[in-house]
Symmetry: C2
Subunit: 234 residues, 2 copies
Amino acid sequence: MESYFDILRACPLFHEISVQDLSSVLSCLGAKVSSFHKKETILSEGEPARYVGIVLSGHVQIIRDDYFGNRNIVAGLGPSELFGESFACAEVLAVPVSVIASEAVEVMLIDCMKITHSCSSACGFHQQLIINLLKVMAGKNLAFHQKLAITSKRTTREKLLAYLMLEAQKNRSNSFQIPYSRQELADYLEVDRSGLSVIIRKLAGEGVIQVNQRWFKLLPSPSSPEISPDHSWW
Amino acid sequence: MESYFDILRACPLFHEISVQDLSSVLSCLGAKVSSFHKKETILSEGEPARYVGIVLSGHVQIIRDDYFGNRNIVAGLGPSELFGESFACAEVLAVPVSVIASEAVEVMLIDCMKITHSCSSACGFHQQLIINLLKVMAGKNLAFHQKLAITSKRTTREKLLAYLMLEAQKNRSNSFQIPYSRQELADYLEVDRSGLSVIIRKLAGEGVIQVNQRWFKLLPSPSSPEISPDHSWW
DNA sequence: TTTCTCCTGTTGAAAATTCAACATACATTT
DNA sequence: AAATGTATGTTGAATTTTCAACAGGAGAAA
């Protein structure tokens, strides 16, 4: 368990909780660690919600498939990030999405009730945990607004550029690596994969971006100044 | 203030708080009531977030306009519903959306800090308020998932039907009134208004729905059974 | 190396959306 | 009654997306 402390310290759920206390907090919460292989399902659509998950290593994706096989990637999550907290808090009987391991992943699972209900031994951390959970959820709501800002754009081109600009902002650099393959990026942006390919090539041809696999670089345009100092990357 | 008690009692933020205690809770929170005319702006994009809003009467819309004037209606909210709680909790310096009065509206505004930070007089309600706020946010997250399930559909027809089915479910009836005009519905579904008109007429022609202004009725199809007992409405 | 699979890019045709412009209906104001 | 403004439906052209099918390349496995 101790080997994950760096990840857990960066996890907003444990903000303001010291490393020394972490062990006792985790055992009070009954935290368990599980591993999943690439493509394995961590939580299936339709299941009741109970656990809050924390990504310890690897990546997971929140997905929703419709009856015709179209996949929508709601979000991708990396180390220190939480999933399932909203469903568990709302005590929904059937979660509307699935959570899958997009690559080999380790997650920590915590029964949400153990967070929101103070324990009998009255350890003094629940108050802080609840406040932290509140902030996590607020942050998740903001993330949803960002996703909406992307997918509400009408064309593939606008969606892609909106996404890339947000990624550049997150990475504080004009060049960055995205966590999605082409098909996954299309599923995230809610567009057709082949159409996305065409747009990417076109934007590169216009000198708006440079691309190499999962690497992207936003090139400064004459009108809009660059976001941050750029440096070559290939 | 007392005239709003029925609305406030139905507000999930005050769940498990008795009507007798409501007055003292509200004064402890420094709750204020404001009125806004139709189309007036309650909160402007770019402003810092501070207040949680509760709709007392009328309707508000959470909107985002892009630089080309395209409007996206993120959500519409009626009496007893909250807005702004995520931004206030996350203490964002510039909210990414605006909140406008889609019709004449009264709202109660509460400083979010007063909720999340226990007061000096140590009134015993903060713990309950925070738990309630947690559930509200969890519910908002679910609402976002629903909205994504609608807007991630690729065609206007699928978006409209997904929306109408959710409304029918909410109203527990195949016939219901939607809170949006045609333009607003198009902005909510993220599609073109005139194209939406065409689809609505087509669906009515196919016998899938009946429409009259804001009234919609989902007609049972041979394959899928109806959602609930239907009754004529015009 | 060879084979196989998966991922990505390409293409063209079909379908759907957007856009602009106009017609109609309804309500409100003058 | 006339005028005005707003909301909605209609239409056709231009644009964009989707869909299906295929080709090339990278990597894994035999």
